[in-house]
């Protein structure tokens, strides 16, 4: 970890030195950016820094400071990285500006699917999509003569066969860490079972047949996982796959590149990508589509906004996407999806829904993340778990002013 941080620092220092190397213009307005710190953001940020005068804060907990930092006047950052979920508080607080005029001036390279429109105004520019799709060990599946599972019943069958063969320690891996991660897995499956999260007026609708089915499926899947699955986050599952401890996982596409990294992966060339399995035979893939993108703060001068937008465009240009094509599935013009993108393409083609980000969903995600582990550890029945999730949600939503 420390090593990679130092390496990244050295790298960014090295790229920052020959300033304006690959930037089309010389930026003279001091700018600051804030975003998450995963590989795609590192690539985009260092492309932005090539324009000069760009300072960056990259932090996996950026969402805890971003709303407050942009609400300040003048805003502490001009360029703010978001995802569909983290865009919500910025929209609610009205701290980011519409980008349509800037797009007309400088955004010729943007494709229409990159524009995140709210009420007809473009509020953010998406740069990549991310979703969880099936990653599996091609060699093991071939050896045992198992077809790539299309739905979760087939996943269970395959896991059973793999377990019997003893080729890996655990057949399955999943990001079931209690909190946000397990909530996300629940939402994926729940949407896959065609469940509705909310009724009218932000009333919760989790206590449903789809909810019970989702919990039972999660429990069934967990039998084939490392018993410590309630602490498994994305990095943990990525390592399990890289070290050959598990044979398949429905994992973030942004982690696919790491499988082919010779320095840390023992399974280079052995991992296949497929669509996320559906919750039931014939259903749509049980996974939600996420995106990452860029917003520009409202509480800054127009001159700063101008410069910020131009720098951001340099950050997400074709050149950057081509140079870093393994990082993530870029939405940028000129990017050609490689074999690692197959799972994303297949999932999206088969109708994976967008993640339903909203203020209410934030409260719901927290309630689910804290509630589901009680079912997994056997403390509560499925019905009682769903009831207490609704209860928790109601408490949170009332406090937030979403429910009367």
């Amino acid at each position: 970890m420390m090593k990679s941080i130092t390496a990244a620092l050295l790298l960014s220092a090295a790229t920052a030195l020959p300033a304006h190397a690959a930037c089309a213009f010389k930026n003279t307005v001091p700018l600051k950016t804030i975003s998450a710190g995963f590989q795609a953001w590192k690539s985009v940020t260092s492309a932005m820094q090539e324009c000069g005068n760009v300072q960056s804060d990259m932090d996996q907990n950026f969402q805890e400071k971003e709303p407050a930092a942009l609400a300040a006047n003048p805003a502490l950052y001009q360029i703010a990285g978001v995802a569909n979920e983290t865009l919500v508080p910025l929209l609610n607080d009205g701290t980011i500006r519409p980008l349509d005029a800037l797009i007309k001036k400088y955004g010729g390279q943007l494709q229409s699917n990159q524009l995140i429109k709210i009420n007809g105004k473009t509020m953010a520019i998406a740069m990549d999509v991310n979703l969880e799709n099936l990653m599996y060990r091609k060699d093991i599946f071939e050896k045992l003569n198992i077809a790539v599972p299309k739905n979760y019943d087939e996943v269970l069958d395959a896991a059973k066969k793999i377990q019997k063969s003893g080729l890996v320690q655990y057949p399955l891996g999943a990001t079931y860490q209690s909190g946000w991660n397990i909530a996300n897995e629940f939402v994926n499956l729940y949407l896959g079972f065609d469940g509705k999260l909310f009724g009218d007026h932000n009333e919760p609708a989790i206590k449903s047949e789809a909810g019970v089915k989702t919990l039972k499926m999660m429990k069934a899947l967990s039998q084939y996982m490392d018993p410590e699955y309630l602490t498994a986050d994305s990095t943990y599952v990525q390592r399990q796959l890289q070290e050959g401890k598990i044979a398949m996982s429905n994992l973030w596409a942004s982690r696919a590149g790491a499988m082919e990294n010779k320095q840390e992966s023992q399974v280079v060339g052995k991992i296949g990508m497929a669509a996320a399995p559906s919750a039931y035979p014939g259903g749509k893939p049980a996974t939600a589509v996420w995106w990452d993108g860029i917003t520009i703060a409202k509480n800054i001068t127009d001159e700063q906004a101008d410069a910020a937008f131009r720098v951001a465009m340099e950050g997400i240009d074709t050149e950057m996407a081509k140079a870093n094509s393994e990082d993530v599935i870029w939405l940028i013009k000129g990017y050609e999806p490689g074999p690692l993108a197959e799972g994303v393409a297949a999932s999206a083609d088969a109708g994976a829904p967008p993640y339903p980000a909203s203020t209410a969903m934030g409260v719901m995600q927290t309630a689910i993340g804290n509630g589901v582990p009680d079912f997994m550890t056997g403390k509560k029945s499925a019905e009682a778990t769903l009831a207490s999730i609704e209860d928790d949600y109601r408490t949170g939503a009332k406090e937030k002013g979403l429910l009367q």
């Binding site: 969402q63 805890e64 995802a83 569909n84 979920e85 983290t86 919500v88 508080p89 609610n92 607080d93 009205g94 229409s112 699917n113 990159q114 995140i116 429109k117 009420n119 007809g120 998406a126 999509v129 209690s178 909190g179 946000w180 490392d226 018993p227 410590e228 699955y229 309630l230 602490t231 589509v289 995106w291 599935i329 939405l331 994303v344 393409a345 999932s347 999206a348 083609d349 829904p353 967008p354 980000a357 909203s358 203020t359 209410a360 969903m361 934030g362 409260v363 995600q365 927290t366 804290n370 582990p373 997994m376 550890t377 207490s388 408490t395 949170g396 406090e399 937030k400 002013g401 979403l402």
Partner: protein
């Protein structure tokens, strides 16, 4: 000392204590009775989100904040009285748990607050005697070793206390996780696979062990220092009177160290009741949570920017009340000792 000079000396500390302890405390106390939130209304909007190489646009009824005249979202503050305390303590659910249809204690411990309280109390009360006991034992043992090796030994015993607790907890977790060294050794010994971090009870034992390992050196140092001040004459006369080792410990050493034992117990109760590092370090949220973690979880905004400040304030007030209740017997004891000496 003249009152004026006394005031002159304590004035700065009084001022700083008011500023950094009393004011925040009052502010948290007040916040626990109020809820501030944005005002929302429902609007039908069209929003577009990227699919893969094409866009998905949906028209939906969304809940959006109402903007004030200056473009800033409107907020409202309500007085909710004990509402936030109620949503933590859930009196209705407690009543249901102990009604005819309920499951009694089992149901009670499924409510977050009581689950956290149960763990916090067990954690505090089980580690307390162990910390004092091990601290005392090491201090006595070391007091009987030859002078030459005492220095290096004290240093070694102090090491756990020097490590930042969160780092220590993480390090211990890595020893016992899945294929960690200790986990593998234990599995070899048991000749079957046992996942320590997958069971609430084994996780709890590990957390207790970690806290004792971490704090016992603190108790040890205090007691060791105390042992250096035991009156030699009293000790020698006890020996002359034929007191055995145990009797000397019981009637001379322990009474001499009593104020220090109270002090260590006070500090440890306050620290252990705020148990937090272990929860994060051992990632035990799915199995065990503490009161302090509950406050933290309510306070940290989720990715959509929601945070429950009012409930978090109520939760910290409840933690404070808990600590005060726990400390009353010890404070009374310390007060009596103080009077006795005076």
């Amino acid at each position: 000392m003249k009152p004026r000079i006394f005031l002159f000396f304590v004035g700065p500390s009084l001022f700083l204590m008011t500023l950094f302890i009393a004011v925040p405390l009052v502010s948290v106390f007040v916040q626990s009775f109020f809820v501030t939130h944005q005002v929302f209304h429902e609007v039908t909007t069209k929003s577009c989100s990227p699919g893969f190489m094409k866009q998905t646009c949906t028209e939906s009824t969304r809940t959006e904040p109402v903007l004030g005249p200056d473009g800033v979202p409107k907020t409202e503050t309500h007085f909710v009285g004990l509402g936030s305390y109620r949503s933590l303590l859930k009196p209705a659910a407690v009543k249901a748990a102990f009604s005819a249809a309920g499951n009694g204690i089992g149901d009670l411990l499924n409510i977050d607050f009581y689950r956290a309280l149960r763990f916090t109390l067990t954690f505090t009360l089980v580690t307390l005697p162990l910390v004092i006991g091990f601290g005392m034992l090491t201090a006595l043992a070391l007091n009987n070793v030859t002078q030459a090796v005492r220095g290096p030994l004290i240093f070694t015993f102090l090491l756990p206390f020097i490590i930042t607790p969160i780092i220590g907890a993480l390090a211990m977790r890595w020893l016992f996780v899945g294929n960690g060294i200790m986990a593998d050794a234990l599995n070899g010994l048991l000749s079957q696979h046992f996942a320590i971090l997958a069971h609430g009870w084994s996780l709890e034992l590990l957390m207790l062990f970690f806290r004792v390992w971490y704090v016992a050196p603190f108790a040890f140092v205090i007691f060791y220092a105390g042992l250096q001040t035991v009156d030699r004459d009293v000790m020698e006369s006890a020996i002359v009177d034929g007191a055995s080792r145990v009797e000397r410990l019981r009637y001379v050493i322990i009474p001499h160290l009593a104020p220090l034992i109270t002090f260590v117990a006070l500090i440890h109760l306050m620290d252990a009741y705020r148990v937090f590092e272990e929860i994060i370090g051992f990632s035990s949220q799915a199995h065990r949570i503490s009161l302090q973690w509950l406050t933290y979880d309510l306070l940290v905004p989720d990715s959509s920017g929601n945070r429950a400040i009012s409930r978090a304030s109520a939760s910290s007030m409840l933690t404070l009340i808990g600590i005060v209740i726990l400390l009353i017997p010890l404070l009374r004891r310390a007060w009596r000792e103080h009077l006795g000496r005076g």
